[in-house]
Symmetry: C2
């Protein structure tokens, strides 16, 4: 695609910034957003950064009815040298296009959108919080906008990038969470949309999540939709187990999301000389490993929480406390290393970070 | 719930009505819409009929990200006596609440929303087209509106009802369609959201539909997500087969939509003294029945198309022409009877229609 210019319209009314010690996840948004339109004649056109504002659309816009939408999530961090870093953003652009392909949404120019993302973060860089565990969450998303009630791919779309200064995803911080194995509801199945980041996967997960929360659990562990036997992922994260010193995670099978943190974790573990296997893992294998005292650690991986240690699994009312119920050694080391790389405190041996701005230039 | 008043704000600028002979499906909308809001404190509140207008929401509104949305579809018809009839609208309200339950959306007061729907149709009754095959399509839908990027059920919602004067759903009218049996993609699986009318089911169907259309087929025939062996539904309709004089349709299994037209068809066929079975039907059974010359008819059922005869099934590049490839006798009789009841030309022995207005009172 041809290189397009990104026009910028600055806000005339900057919003007050939140108390950095009182940040939740995804409730506050910055002063600007990136927008781009698509129609069949022009393709993706008019990339622009404009003041953060409401979206106004016809009630018949297809996104409200048929869920043709995809999204991504990544974060920007401030280093101790006041540099603003992104973590593997090109992987998010790549995955956005994989999701687009599954959802029949026209592919984007990954370079252009990444350039827009970087410019947006640079413009709103004063919004990036610096306290421990905080960051600027970046949410690119695309929605179908054609006002039409027939079930078909839309002919028009809008792409947005919005920014939200965030604290930890879980209120409890990096403390271990309790996870319930889900026996009734199914998140996704091979041939469905489980490996795309699209709205429907999340909508279908709400009921199981709600039931789990009522029982005092943080998330659910999804089993495969076919045999209800093999482990898929946990809540909105990928999952890893350490069994007898070996680290295992479910193989990508078409219904599991190809997590970027998952990929980073596998790369790091291998770099540390540990054995990592991507393979089918049955829930029975995990139960048995726990009974034999061989289930040493369990943790989820995802952009929002980075590493989320699992302290307890609930299976048919049976409670499996993992290790001592505390954060495991590998979980802690992964969390420290990845957040260290993200914040520029650890050596970035894999070239995962990209500098987009410096806070020391201005003011 | 307590009875709530529905306030009405009339438009000051009525739109021109479309040429009734040139109507497509779901592209033109009437002068007014019904809206109602939900928050945790007030429950569902402020039911109102207002001029048809854009929806303005924060870009972080949850519907754009996590697809927490449900919808319904039904139609209003004008009889030869100028009465406006609805067809089984209470069934749509009932199913809307079933979908709400699966999607963690607060239940609605079915009577109140039906009352709002009737008042809306009465106000915009001049928009109902009268030509053969035309009607007023009614689309109630609910969307999650909370501006929050965490994956959880929204705390706020909006319910809308919009109206669209429509021609036939298929451009080709009631002519038989070509349907491809889908082997790769899956629409839904037990434990998922297949039996709810929610956005994600439709988003996930687009890819298979697009591939089918490129090959010249109208829709796909979905197989079950577990064994890819049993027939589920076709495109966005339920499906029926007539084999050796017996009519069969897949049983409701948790992943098939509980169609209201499906229910009406079963009731009518039994009323006519025909044998109807709701059971598991494998694709192999259908292929074999066709080879043996026992597959006499195939048709889809749904609100949009009412009855959609299937003239040809494509299975692994093999073409199965059904009957003579023309509309079958039962399909035709069902179409004529149901549309006859809907338009007041046939006796409504089951009490399926509800009068909401008369066109002869005014003007």
């Amino acid at each position: 695609m041809m290189k397009q210019d990104i026009r910028v319209e600055f806000t005339s009314a900057k919003k007050p910034k939140p108390d950095p010690h009182d940040l939740a996840f995804g409730r506050i948004f910055t002063d600007h957003m990136f927008v781009m339109d698509y129609d069949a004649d022009q393709g993706w056109y008019d990339p622009r950064i404009i003041p953060y504002q409401s979206i106004s659309m016809d009630p018949a816009a297809m996104v409200y009815h048929y869920g043709q939408t995809v999204f991504e999530g990544l974060k920007a961090y401030v280093t101790k040298d006041q540099e603003v870093l992104l973590f593997r953003p090109e992987k998010n652009m790549e995955r956005l296009n994989q999701s687009n392909d599954r959802l029949c949404i026209p592919l984007i120019d990954e370079e252009l959108v990444l350039e827009g993302l970087k410019q947006l973060v640079a413009i709103d860089k004063d919004w990036i919080p610096k306290a421990e565990g905080t960051s600027l969450y970046i949410r690119p998303f695309i929605i179908a906008t054609e006002p039409f009630l027939g079930v078909a791919a839309s002919h028009t779309y809008k792409l947005f990038i919005i920014l939200s200064p965030v604290g930890s995803y879980y209120k409890e911080g990096i403390k271990p969470v309790k996870i319930a194995v889900e026996n009734e509801f199914v998140r996704a199945v091979k041939g469905g949309t489980g490996n795309a980041k699209t709205a429907g996967n999340y909508a279908s997960s709400l009921k199981a999540q709600q039931v789990a929360e009522e029982k005092g659990f943080s998330q659910v562990l999804w089993l495969d939709g076919i045999e209800k036997k093999y482990i898929e992922e946990v809540g909105s994260m990928n999952i890893f187990f350490k069994i007898s010193g070996e680290i295992v995670t479910p193989e990508l099978n078409g219904s599991i999301l190809e997590g970027i943190t998952r990929n980073s974790v596998i790369t790091l573990l291998k770099h540390w000389g540990l054995t990592v296997s991507e393979r089918k893992i049955s829930i029975d294998e995990i139960i048995q490993a726990h009974r034999d005292g061989r289930l040493e650690e369990t943790f989820g991986t995802g952009t929002a929480a980075v590493i989320s240690p699992v302290g307890e699994l609930i299976w048919n009312d049976e409670s499996l406390v993992i290790g001592s119920g505390e954060t495991g050694e590998i979980s802690k080391k992964l969390y420290d290393t990845i957040t260290g790389i993200q914040k520029g405190a650890e050596a970035d041996v894999f070239g995962w970070t990209t500098e987009v701005a410096s806070l020391s230039e201005t003011k």
